[in-house]
Symmetry: C2
Subunit: 595 residues, 2 copies
Amino acid sequence: MPEIEPATGGPEEPPSAHRGLTVSTGLAGLSLDAMASVAYGPEAIVLVLAAAGSAGLGLTLPVTLAIVVLLAVLIASYRQVIAAFPDGGGAYAVAKKHLGRRTSLVAAASLIVDYVLNVAVSIAAGVAALTSAFPALLPYTMWICLVVLVGITALNLAGIRESARAFMAPTVVFVAGILVVIVAGLLRSAPEVVETGAAVATESRTIGILLLLKAFSSGCAALTGVEAIANAVPSFERPKVRRAQRAEVALGVLLGIMLIGLATLIGKFSVHPIDGTTVLSQLTEAALGHGIAYYVVQFATVALLALAANTSYGGLPTLTKILADDNCLPHRFAVATPRQVYRYGVLALGVCAAVLLVASGGNMNALVPLFAIGVFVGFTIAQVGMVRHWLLAGVGGWRLALNGFGAVLTFGAAVVTTAMKFTAGAWLIVLVLPLLVLAMERVRRTYGRIDTRRGIGCVPAQPQATGTVIVVPVSEVSELSREALSAALSLGHDVVAVHVCLPGENTTLFTKAWAAWHPEVPLEMIDAGDCTVGGPVARFVRDNFDGRRKVVLIAEVDPPTGWDRVLPSHRSDELERQLRRLPDTVVCHLRVQAA
Amino acid sequence: MPEIEPATGGPEEPPSAHRGLTVSTGLAGLSLDAMASVAYGPEAIVLVLAAAGSAGLGLTLPVTLAIVVLLAVLIASYRQVIAAFPDGGGAYAVAKKHLGRRTSLVAAASLIVDYVLNVAVSIAAGVAALTSAFPALLPYTMWICLVVLVGITALNLAGIRESARAFMAPTVVFVAGILVVIVAGLLRSAPEVVETGAAVATESRTIGILLLLKAFSSGCAALTGVEAIANAVPSFERPKVRRAQRAEVALGVLLGIMLIGLATLIGKFSVHPIDGTTVLSQLTEAALGHGIAYYVVQFATVALLALAANTSYGGLPTLTKILADDNCLPHRFAVATPRQVYRYGVLALGVCAAVLLVASGGNMNALVPLFAIGVFVGFTIAQVGMVRHWLLAGVGGWRLALNGFGAVLTFGAAVVTTAMKFTAGAWLIVLVLPLLVLAMERVRRTYGRIDTRRGIGCVPAQPQATGTVIVVPVSEVSELSREALSAALSLGHDVVAVHVCLPGENTTLFTKAWAAWHPEVPLEMIDAGDCTVGGPVARFVRDNFDGRRKVVLIAEVDPPTGWDRVLPSHRSDELERQLRRLPDTVVCHLRVQAA
């Protein structure tokens, strides 16, 4: 997952008092979601190829090699991004600088989608690793996913974060575990344990170019997160650029080795997809047996995936904060709690991920196909931005060519992924991305109109008093009415009381009581056409008092607790709703507390 | 389902211009949910007795006979209620008159629960009849239930209602169909079609008194709705009491015949519960074969159950309206649309039924156990109220004895049902009933305090003006600030502008702009401890201006559409939230429209 403006938050941010990231802590802090994607990437390939039987599964390695080639190009491209943008910055920042507002919003939308998907996929994959180890938990998959999600969301709402250093141990255990699985598996002539579950039923298919493209686009999910280091260069220790570049290359090498190694094992042990057991779990069993080592690898996988989900909680609220500051999202997203938590961003992330988990039933393989599109859209925009960067800087040659090649390749991958996965759920992303962009543009436009109306920047004319009439809706003769009229008289001499006669009401009761009281305020009785008071009062205020400033004073009893607030206010709500539309009208609320 | 105040609405209300109900239209309009309960009552018995195998199922008839005896007592009791309360009135009305407020709230709560359950159970049973006829629809049970629910709710929100006459045809077809099934089944020596689905797995159990009590309490669901006629006496044609009594007896006879007939057939064809096929569907197949007649009966069942669900939409919103008028529910429940729809009541009913349907997965047999408790609580309260009625009227003898006997019997049934069904979901009702009563009492208390504070009934003192200070929070120097200060100066001479300095803000920018403008209004700069403006402004207003009336004027730009309203207002929201707690403070909003 890309990290936006690493200096402002996020789990990978080192406390500024501490030293910056080294190559290894950077790798742990920034790349754990890239690493974590080996837990679902290879499985996504196997699931597709299984449709063509054993012959299909034999193609796992070639497909993986193609993906690793793409990985190599991406890593080389991002080494350049690191050199060119030593201040960091995600696809959004690059696009905002080089490709204009609209493109930057597309980048932002794709980032938002990916942050949300990263949470859902990581949690689903982590729980899949757990249920593979403990099949008894399988029926509760979705509920476990939701409990984990609520837990992570709650921790982040409370502002509890870990430093990059804390991520070292699980990352090391996980990578070491996967490497041990690969080595042990390669040394072993026959699998230690063969999983005997029922194979996932798939329609049999011949091997064709379509199937290979499908497998390729599924496996591309393994590439998510390789851009995170490039986004967070300022977090590294000096020399920042060199260290970041080394970490990027190390990530590429490690990820490549793990992917190729696992693909080789899949071919060697002819692993086929089994319902309820992940491919990684099968490989671990085959290589290490069903002993303590198996559980260590599974638990490391679960832990790493939970941390991978957690990284989105550093990234998305920071991104939405930047977008809110840029007027592209409601300003609420920019409001931080005293513990520097952007509550709306965290909550929005949790809710969206929950919807995805519930809709997919917590099934990781249903979510993975949604993933790659947004990632490749982001990749492509970043690469195109880099091409423009080199052109503007007058730098040509291999740098330009490499980013150009990267852009073409990732754009191709985006198209292939979308086409291949369209019916498997990618349509949702194809729908959501433009909607998000449109929504953000609309928000921006509205804020623009509001700012125009506020008229900031010029020295305004002097404020001046005008004649004022104060209208007080009165529903009964009571102590509350007295307080309302007192407040109105304190605001001006020209006070009018208004009583709305509801259908079926006996108005003589009211007029008698008013006559008995006879405050020195004129009373207007107006007829309500229906059972509402808001409309008649608004019409009365609108149609009278031309040229004067109109003030409507609404008195109400405020119940002591928030819970009770639904109780008395429906008349005030009606008035408020109707009156706020009137031009040049001030609506005042006098709220007295209930005893 | 009981109908409250039939004269104010509900499907069984005859348009007042038309003639009243006859025995037959009354039976159709008021009793279709009682009739409809034969679709799930007998099945509930069979489900319990199946635990004891064929021997257990042989006891279906005796258990049904016990239920029919209870039915006879109820019918006899309600004949008396009709005579004693010729103005109608449900358990709530009876209890309010004779048993005090608390008891009447218990009755109201049990009615609310039953209205909601009636919708959920009727829809689930109707969809079960549908999926029995078309097993291909079985996987979509819950979704079909929700579609039906949304449809019925939408029709009622739009204010579209049917007269009692429209209910005649489906009721006649349904009752005739059931009777034909019974007669044909009794004449046939062997079942025409034997359902071959897998029997529902149940742990084997010996026949004991517990099992019989359980079967009895399950079957009591068939008694729901027998009180509806007694609640709607004024809707009948003259002589109202005689016609209503005849309709009540006719209902009892019809319901008794159907229950006994179906129970006999269940024994004769040794029907056992099958997943995905209702008992009624099995009986129809066994008696009439799987031909056109079968589909006619199934469709009549579906139609009748949909109408039965619809009756709650006449009853519950009327009940909640009465409760709101009695200050026991928020007054919003008493607000009618121009088409006389109590929108909040209809929506609340739809939402609660949707929750039940989703939670049960649309499974009628999971919902039926919740049903009987509320019904028997209502029955018992009505009977006890009648006993008190006779005692107060000085009438003793057999009338008193009959209602007393009915009260004891229904109270016993309530206890048995609760105990037997506690773990099967009745705990939910045991939890919800008192919570509802407590909530309604709390609402009542709060309205009481609000009314006390309003001080209605006495002639208040004369309203008087006091010295006023007007505080205007200003975040920037802009056209909007000018308008805010102009409005403030129109309201009084003593105006103070307040600027909250947020952390990290460069205040010199603001003070320079202010100096350049220099409006003739004093400016106070206050420091915000955190990132909020609400708290500091509220503290400033509270701690200054002793003895004067305080008015805070908030200016904001109102976006053109409702959708955009989430955008700009978080600062105003903050101010509003903090300021509404201050005593004697008027909060004014000047809202200008965005271009």
